[in-house]
Symmetry: C2
DNA sequence: TTTTGTGCAAAAGGTTTGCATACGA
DNA sequence: TCGTATGCAAACCTTTTGCACAAAA
């Protein structure tokens, strides 16, 4: 995959081990980790990597369009390496964020064109109970995984 | 409007001046204020009102279903008094959050029923440039209301 | 060699909490 | 009266910043 380096260069970004580690982690962990989680993993690999740099790397990668940040709950921002358009499901009990395969919303493109705003993208947010929270209707939040 | 008091009681919540002030402010300002903004307004009316109480009131009201919190950008949570289902538009330049009249997504109810998750609600998030940001394509963010 | 990125520690938001006191039901 | 809500200040969590040093291009 020599493409990554090119994506970096195309954006005038330098290709550093830290940035690569962050991107690599996100690509291998599509579970929408927080900055803290990315930091812990990257730091385990290279103990010199700092939290501030992870944050800066995440922003740099987002600017370059290589990753995306998702901000739906009130707590920490979550990150994902973009794999094309998709929707999101947010579990109201445990906070788990899941991808939902993309499907087009019929008529929305037309509506968007007619709107007073210049709509560039759209996304559907579904909320409810995730699979594992459905079984434990009266339990506490489950934070595993 | 004696209904508000009832809504409170029905949820086992006490009807306090602070809570009423918070709800009232949100009803009269549908521009999705932050907790800080609500606090400033409420505190102007009653200088004894504290920020902590505003936060607690916002949560109490949300639990009671009288208001809703919206969390789309990475910054402060925004609040709105629910006026029925609607979608949201978020300006990518100035951060302005606008309501978009509700319209049903055809076929989604069926998709939701077939999903592994128990989908309870859904909402569309549109992103792009708001009206005033379109005119100033090269300007800074505009924060006037 | 010239930028740009990194690491550290400190600061800056935004939000929550503990506890004594006040107050609604 | 009883139990919940308030106000205050301190704590907390997440994210950003300033600056000297390191390392890509």
């Amino acid at each position: 995959m020599p493409y990554i380096q090119d994506s970096f260069r195309r954006q005038g970004l330098r290709f550093t081990p830290q940035r690569y580690a962050v991107l690599d982690y996100l690509r291998k962990h599509p579970c929408h980790p927080t900055a803290e989680e990315v930091y812990k993993a990257v730091n385990r690999r290279d103990p010199r990597a700092s939290l501030a740099t992870v944050y800066k790397s995440l922003h740099a990668l987002a600017r370059a369009g290589l990753i995306r940040e998702v901000n739906l709950a009130g707590n920490a921002t979550r990150f994902e390496s973009v794999t094309g358009p998709h929707h999101h499901f947010l579990c109201e009990r445990c906070g788990r964020l899941e991808d939902v395969p993309w499907f087009d919303v019929p008529g929305l493109a037309k509506k968007a064109r007619a709107a007073p705003q210049a709509v560039r993208t759209w996304e559907l947010i579904l909320r409810g109970l995730c699979k594992s929270c459905q079984s434990r209707t009266r339990g506490r939040a489950n934070w595993e995984n």
